[in-house]
Structures are given as C-alpha cells and as structure tokens.
C-alpha cells in the first residue's frame, strides 16, 4: 500500500468525521465533487449532510465556521487555494483569532489552505501565507512536510480548541508518498530533526524540507553533514529544538518558500540570535523566495523559489565562514 500526502489529508478528514460528530466540512465544491484537489473525495456520500458546498464567499464561509464553533462544532473550512483566504482574512484574524482572548470561549475551527507553488500556478495560486497568519495572536499555524504529518497534524488541528491555519502544500499532494498512515506522532509544537548532521543547522518547513534534504545530500558528497530541522508548526515555533541543534552545529541557515520580509526565516533567526547568540560560530543566513509575486512561467518560478541547488549554495556560504 502507498498513500499520498493528499490522500492522507482526505483520510484524516474521514477519520475526524467518523470519530467526532461535531466535525463538518465546508468549502467550495467539497461536496459531491470532492473538492478542487479531491481532498474530500467520497466524504459527502459517506457523511451525508456534513460535507457541504459553500458559495463563493470566503468571508461568510469563515464567519459560518466561527459561529458553528461557538456552538460547539468543529468545522473544517477548505479554501480552494490559500490565496483566496485573503477574502476571509478579516474573519480569521479579527473574529476567530480574538475570540478566546476577548470572550473566554474557544473557537476551534480548522482552516485548510492549499498552499505553495507548483509549475504554472502563477501569482494567485501559489502563495504561502503562514507568516501573515502567524503574525496575529490567537492562531495556530501548521505547515506539515510529510504524509505522516499531513495526517496526524490535521487530526490534531481538529482536536485543538483554538483556530488552526493548516497550510498544506500543493506541490506535495501527489509527489509525496508513504507506506502507511501513522498511528502515533510528534505533538503540534514540536519540531522534527529530519536529518542529523553536525556542521550546519538548516531550519525549514513544508515543501522546502524536501529541497533542503536534497541539498543536504548534495553537500554530503562534499563532506558536509547538514542537520535539517522541519519546524512542522510555525506558530508555536519550537525554538528549543532549533537552538539545541544550533548548539551542536554552530551554524544556521533558514529556508522558506515565502517572501523574505518578516517571514518564518526572519522569526527563526531572530529567536536564535536573541536567545542563543553565543552558540553561533558564523553569521546565520536565510534563503527565501524573491520579493516579487510568484511567477507563472516555470523558468521564472524555479529561479524565484529556493531549490536544492540554491539552498546548497547558500549553505556553502555559511559553512565556509
């Protein structure tokens, strides 16, 4: 048996619907059609009345989920693409995220955001919005990089009493496969050492974990042992695991697919230098997408986002200091 990242997301939703009567799914085309990416395939049939097509109204979609959560439900909201969540932005950051702090009533919604670049996706079907949501208090922001995490973290997202922004990466949907679904998992809030190494700590998340692992392979052939830390969740961010790794390697490179200004990479570097300054033997560095919209054409796209190659090049610079 083999299961993809996308299937894991479907299976997690099926299990959540099966195990918890409070769960329902709401999103454009998620019903009989099974969603633009088929992440809810078959679920409307299996769980009648609990997987519902929404109108093209992301603000009201989020509002409805919030209102239902206040009544004790556990809605899963599918945005057709992460990019369209800008329309629901106000409800997410001002209504859902402030609810518990203002009223002492928790607001357990899970917002699934199909994120990230794919060849030909272009400026409005490629965005990664984790930094935007992580900036706001009151949200949990998850960025699973593996099939196992896609599954276990989505289940955990539904169980968490707070609003969760679940950033699933479209590039991994079909590419990434595992043999089976996990039965246990690291909890949300813990980073994972995806690869052990002693020369450099490479902190990353989501699809960039795989580019980074490939870069680490390349660097190994040059004699460098790179430790790759998969953050898994960017808020909360597991600073302890990152700093412990930097303590071992003395060097830090952060890689993110998002834009540089105020991104995950800036946040991680800031935490490390503020809290673990003396552990560093060389200046930390970051590598991000270029500071322009995400290009449509693959020639441009592959120069826009970090790749194994550009990550290896950035790592070499850190290593050679």
């Amino acid at each position: 048996m083999s299961i993809t990242y996308l299937e894991a997301i479907r299976e997690a939703q099926a299990k959540a619907l099966r195990d918890d009567p409070r769960v329902f799914i709401y999103g454009q085309d998620v019903g009989a059609f099974g969603g633009a990416f088929k992440a809810t395939k078959g679920l409307a049939k299996e769980f009648p009345g609990r997987v519902l097509d929404a109108p093209i109204a992301e603000d009201a979609m989020a509002g409805l989920a919030i209102g239902a959560a206040l009544e004790g439900m556990r809605p899963i909201l599918e945005m057709q693409f992460a990019d369209f969540s800008t329309v629901a932005f106000n409800q997410i950051v001002n209504q859902a995220a402030t609810m518990f702090w203002r009223t002492n009533i928790s607001c357990p919604i899970t917002v699934r955001l199909p994120c990230g670049g794919t060849a030909g996706g272009g400026p409005f079907h490629s965005q990664t919005m984790e930094a935007i949501y992580a900036h706001y208090p009151g949200l949990v922001v998850l960025t699973p990089a593996t099939v196992e995490d896609a599954y276990s973290m989505l289940l955990e997202a539904v169980a968490i009493d707070d609003p969760v922004i679940f950033c699933e990466h479209k590039f991994l949907y079909y590419h990434l496969k595992a043999d089976s679904l996990p039965t246990e998992a690291l909890p949300v809030g813990k980073a994972r050492i995806a690869r052990v190494g002693r020369d450099l700590t490479l902190v990353t998340y989501s699809a960039m974990v795989h580019e980074s692992l490939a870069a680490a392979d390349e660097l190994l052939s040059e004699g460098w042992e790179v430790e790759v830390v998969d953050l898994r969740s960017v808020k909360p961010l597991d600073t302890d695991t990152v700093i412990a790794s930097v303590a071992r390697t003395g060097r830090l490179l952060c890689v993110g697919e998002a834009w540089p200004w105020g991104g995950v990479t800036a946040e991680v570097i800031t935490r490390v230098v503020c809290e673990g300054y003396d552990l560093l033997d060389a200046p930390p560095q970051r590598l991000n997408a270029k500071d322009t919209p995400v290009p449509y054409h693959p020639n441009l796209w592959s120069a826009h986002r970090p790749t194994a190659r550009s990550i290896a090049a950035a790592a070499r610079k850190v290593l050679q200091r």
Binding site: F24, G49, R50, A54, P55, A57, D59, A60, M61, A62, G63, L64, A65, I66, G67, A68, A69, L70, E71, G72, M73, P75, N90, Q91, N94, Q95, A97, T98, F100, W101, R102, T103, N104, I105, S106, P137, G138, V140, I160, D161, D162, V188, G189, K235, P236, L237
Partner: protein, 343 residues
C-alpha cells in the same frame, strides 16, 4: 416578495398586546436612561473609548429583544442597548464594560459596545461592520446540524453596514441555507456623517430582499406597535421554518454617531420630518392614549429605571479595573501548551 407594513393590524388578545407593549416600553426606557447616564459619564471623562447611543432607535431594538427567546442568538450592533436589555443583558454587564470593571463580561479586554456573552446567545461584536451576520448563520447552522429546532438568530446593522461585502455574503448564505436569520436594518439616514444617497441608490434597502430571494418588510421605526408587529412576525416566520427575513426600519438617529460627535450634518428637514420623531415620546403618548399608563405610572417607571441604572453604574465604578500582574491576560490561545513565551 417585498412587503411594506406601515401600520400593522393588531390581532389577538388585547391584554397580551398591552403587556408586551408595556414590557417593551419599560426596556426602552431603561435603555434610554442607561444611554443618557453613559453619555453624562462620558462627558465627565469617566468612560474610555467611544460611547454610541441608541437614542431614537429603541422601539426597533427592543422589539428584537422581546421577540427573542432564551436559546436564540442575538448579534446586536452599536445602537442596541434596548434590544440587549430586553433579550438578556443585565444593566450591570453594560455598566461594567463601559466603566472598565474587570468583573464585566469582557474583563477589561474589550470595551463598551463590544460586550457579549456568546454562551448565552449574545454575540460579542467585532468592530468590522457586517462581520457578525455570518457568525449568526454559523450558530443557526450548527443548531440545525445538531437537531435543535425552533431557535432563531437576529443580526442588526445600520444602513451603512449594508454596503459591506460581508453583509451580502452572509445574506446570500442564509438564503441558500434557509436559515432562521432575521436581519434587522436600522436605516437611520446616516452612516456616521454619510447620508444614504452616498450609501445606496435603491428606493429602500428592503429592495435588497428580492435579490436574496427572501421576504422583506419595511417598518416605521419610530412606532413601537409597528416594530413589535413587524419584527415579531419576522421572528415568528423564521422560527416556523420560513427561512431568512429582512426587516428595514426607517428612523433617525437622535444623537451623534458617538458622543464625541455633535451631528451638525443631520438635515434639519429630516429632524422635522416624521422620521425625526422620538419613539419614546410616541410610545408614552400611546400608553396614555390607550390608558395603559398615566403620568404617575410613567414617572414611577422612570424612577425605577433611574434607580437600576444608578445602582449599576455606582457599583461598577467601585469595582477594580483589571490588574495586568494579578491575572494572566497574555494568553491568546485556550490551549495552554501551545502558547509561546511572551516578550
């Protein structure tokens, strides 16, 4: 599908009508007295943040409060003191929130008009206009999924708020889902300083109803009987499963946008028109005319309202404000182990 109800035909038991009218009037009065008190506290510098009053809108607002039942959902807006009190809010909740007591429902975190008790069906509005309507939809949607029947939700907004995308998305959503939402629009002729001709171009906002495929009703918002009837019937129809209802009331705000605003922009012509009548005075005249209350009774009621308000505001003023060091105010998540250390 658009209906215009100017003067309702009041059928049924006269004494029930009278009791409801009196109950509604007394909540209007309490709201007016409380609003007035808040205004004077504001002028005395005792209130932080804005004070926004429902003066002139009590008849409409109270009709919602008396029409709702315990398990219903209510999303009041900034001018709904009367509706809040008639629904289930205590004077003390209001006083505490305006006066920054840490014992109020918002515990000093949020203020004034943003107060609410969502667990008791009274949503705590965010400022962004239009944003509460789909939240009411969500509550109603959840109840339907859970097999809870016979509850309704009322969302309030002003003329200006109907221009928001949120209003539209939520109205359409309610219509598609046939939710028991009653949308009450107080067309008070202005959104802050902006007159309705810079806000919409239809004859009346009730004309929006047909575009959502739902019934719409227009009502004279200065007339308590009309409001009780039209809002009451809309709530009854929603409760009976007839889907969303739109009620648009015509009236005038008899105060500034907030107490900082002298509202010089309001047209004298409007003030002098029927829209500018004070629903409180009209209700008092009606009470007297029907011999439901005489001047002495009205005075007694007022004195009782004043006492309640004085007690609550005095109590709230004696209460401590929040102490940032005594309590953990800095947790934005309910899941403690997911909190990050604060700066």
């Amino acid at each position: 599908m658009v209906q215009t109800v100017i003067e309702p035909t009041s059928a049924g038991d006269v004494s029930a009508t009278r009791d409801l009218y009196i109950k509604a009037y007394r909540f209007m009065l309490l709201a007016r007295v409380l609003d007035d008190k808040l205004a004077s506290l504001y002028r005395a510098g005792k209130i932080l943040g804005g004070v926004f009053l429902g003066r002139g809108q009590e008849a409409l607002s109270v009709s919602i409060g008396v029409g709702l039942r315990e398990r219903d959902i209510f999303a009041p807006l900034i001018r709904d003191m009367a509706g809040r009190l008639a629904f289930n809010e205590s004077v003390l909740d209001a006083a505490r929130t305006f006066l920054g007591s840490s014992l109020g429902p918002m515990r000093g975190r949020d203020g004034n008009i943003h107060r609410g008790r969502p667990k008791e069906g009274q949503l705590a509005m965010i400022s962004h206009l239009g944003a509460m309507i789909s939240v009411v939809n969500g509550g109603l949607f959840a109840r339907r999924m859970r097999g809870i029947k016979g509850t309704v939700g009322v969302a309030c907004c002003g003329d200006g708020s109907t221009s928001t995308g949120s209003f539209h998305e939520a109205m359409n959503q309610a219509a598609i889902e046939k939710l028991p939402l009653v949308m009450v629009v107080a067309d008070n002729q202005y959104a802050y300083s902006t007159p309705t001709e810079r806000q919409f171009a239809c004859r009346s906002l009730v004309d929006r109803a047909v575009g959502y495929g739902i019934p719409g009703y227009e009502v004279d918002g200065t007339n308590l009987t009309a409001c009780l009837n039209v809002v009451g019937e809309a709530i009854a129809r929603a409760r009976a499963g007839e889907g969303p209802q739109l009620v648009v009331a015509n009236l005038l705000r008899l105060c500034g946008h907030g107490e900082h605003d002298d509202a010089q922009y309001i047209e004298p012509k409007l003030k002098a028109s029927d829209l500018g009548r004070d629903c409180m005075k009209l209700a008092e005249a009606y009470l007297t005319q029907q011999s439901w209350a005489d001047a002495a009774t009205l005075s007694k009621w007022r004195a009782e309202a004043v006492q309640k308000v004085e007690e609550a505001t005095a109590a709230a003023q004696r209460e401590p404000g929040p102490d940032p060091f005594a309590e953990n105010y800095w947790a934005a998540l309910s899941t403690e182990n997911l909190l990050e250390g604060n700066e």
